[in-house]
């Protein structure tokens, strides 16, 4: 049984988990929830985006730019599969 290494990394697991429970969130929210540094967050987000697990959207809120992240259907399915495998492995 092979685990999805992209999600298995603790930092990325934390990002994906946080995005699983909301519709979307911006960088400030994600940074506060995961406790990652800005640099780390950007690196891991990029990896997840490259795998098409999440999509990044730029928008303006009250004339201020905001970067919003959202898990794609693919990302949600990958997390569900990862979770199933890890529980199966541990039981």
């Amino acid at each position: 049984m092979e685990l999805d290494k992209l999600i298995h990394a603790p930092a990325r697991l934390s990002i994906v988990k946080q995005l699983m429970v909301v519709d979307d969130a911006d960088a400030t929210w994600l940074q506060g929830q995961t406790g990652l540094s800005w640099g780390n967050l950007a690196t891991h987000v990029r990896k997840l985006e490259e795998a098409r697990y999440l999509e990044v959207r730029k928008e303006f809120a009250e004339r201020k730019p905001r970067t919003v992240f959202r898990l794609t259907a693919e990302g949600r399915a990958a997390y569900a599969e990862y979770r199933r495998k890890i529980l199966e492995l541990l039981e």
Binding site: V21, A25, G32, Q33, A61, R83
Partner: protein
């Protein structure tokens, strides 16, 4: 220390790993925590509730208890607008899942409707002929007001997962009961003015404490503007 010791060490490690993974994968806990962070952690809701209670207490004292509804209508929108300015830049933007928000909203609407209908029924069923709010309270016993307020507080605690809601319910009951038993009838601070103000002040002070702590621990930090550009 032999094979048995090693086995028990391995068992402990295995159980710890299992616990860690289960915890880490627990989405419900994460969802609850996200809701708590987005809606309750900053204490603004407590401040607004406390202000409403205190204002209502003053209105009862002034013989204008019926204006309590207007107080709620003024304080809440103003408070939420201030919250948006103060809190949103600190925690960031989040869109909670529609089903989470909707189920909590429906439960709250149900609770308020039930409390309002039950309260109105009791109020109309009172046998006093006086139309004055305080006179009716005297005839009903002020605890009739305490029960729905405490029920709302404790249900908010249950529905929103805010344990302090239960503490507020206890504070409301105690302040109403204390005043009911200790204050002389007909005195200037006759019930329900004082218990409303006492319980309101408790909620207000708790909210201010939570808000101050939240502001200190969540300073506004600007997202480095070019950081996420590389990912585009």
């Amino acid at each position: 220390m032999g094979q048995a010791g090693l086995d028990s060490d391995f068992y402990f490690l295995k159980q710890s790993a299992l616990y860690y993974w289960r915890m880490d994968l627990e989405l419900q806990a994460a969802e609850k925590q996200a809701f708590h962070r987005a809606a309750l952690e900053d204490g603004i809701l407590d401040i607004l509730c406390g202000l409403c209670f205190v204002a209502w207490g003053f209105l009862v004292e002034a013989g204008q208890a019926g204006l309590g509804g207007i107080t709620f209508a003024v304080i809440y929108p103003t408070g939420f607008a201030i919250r948006k300015r103060l809190i949103a830049p600190r925690i960031g933007h989040v869109t909670l899942k529609e089903q989470t928000v909707r189920s909590k909203r429906l439960l709250m609407i149900g609770l308020f409707t039930f409390t309002a209908v039950a309260g109105l029924a009791l109020y109309l069923a009172s046998d006093t002929e006086a139309g004055d709010f305080r006179a009716r309270m005297d005839s009903l016993g002020v605890m009739v007001l305490a029960f729905p307020l405490a029920l709302i507080a404790t249900m908010i605690g249950l529905i929103y997962g805010a344990k302090r809601g239960h503490a507020y319910a206890v504070a409301i009951m105690l302040s109403f009961l204390g005043c009911h038993l200790s204050i002389e009838k007909g005195s200037r601070w006759d019930e329900p003015t004082l218990p409303l103000m006492i319980s309101g002040t408790i909620v207000l002070l708790t909210g201010i404490t939570l808000c101050t702590r939240f502001m200190r621990s969540h300073p506004i930090s600007d997202v480095p503007s070019d950081l996420f550009d590389a990912s585009r």
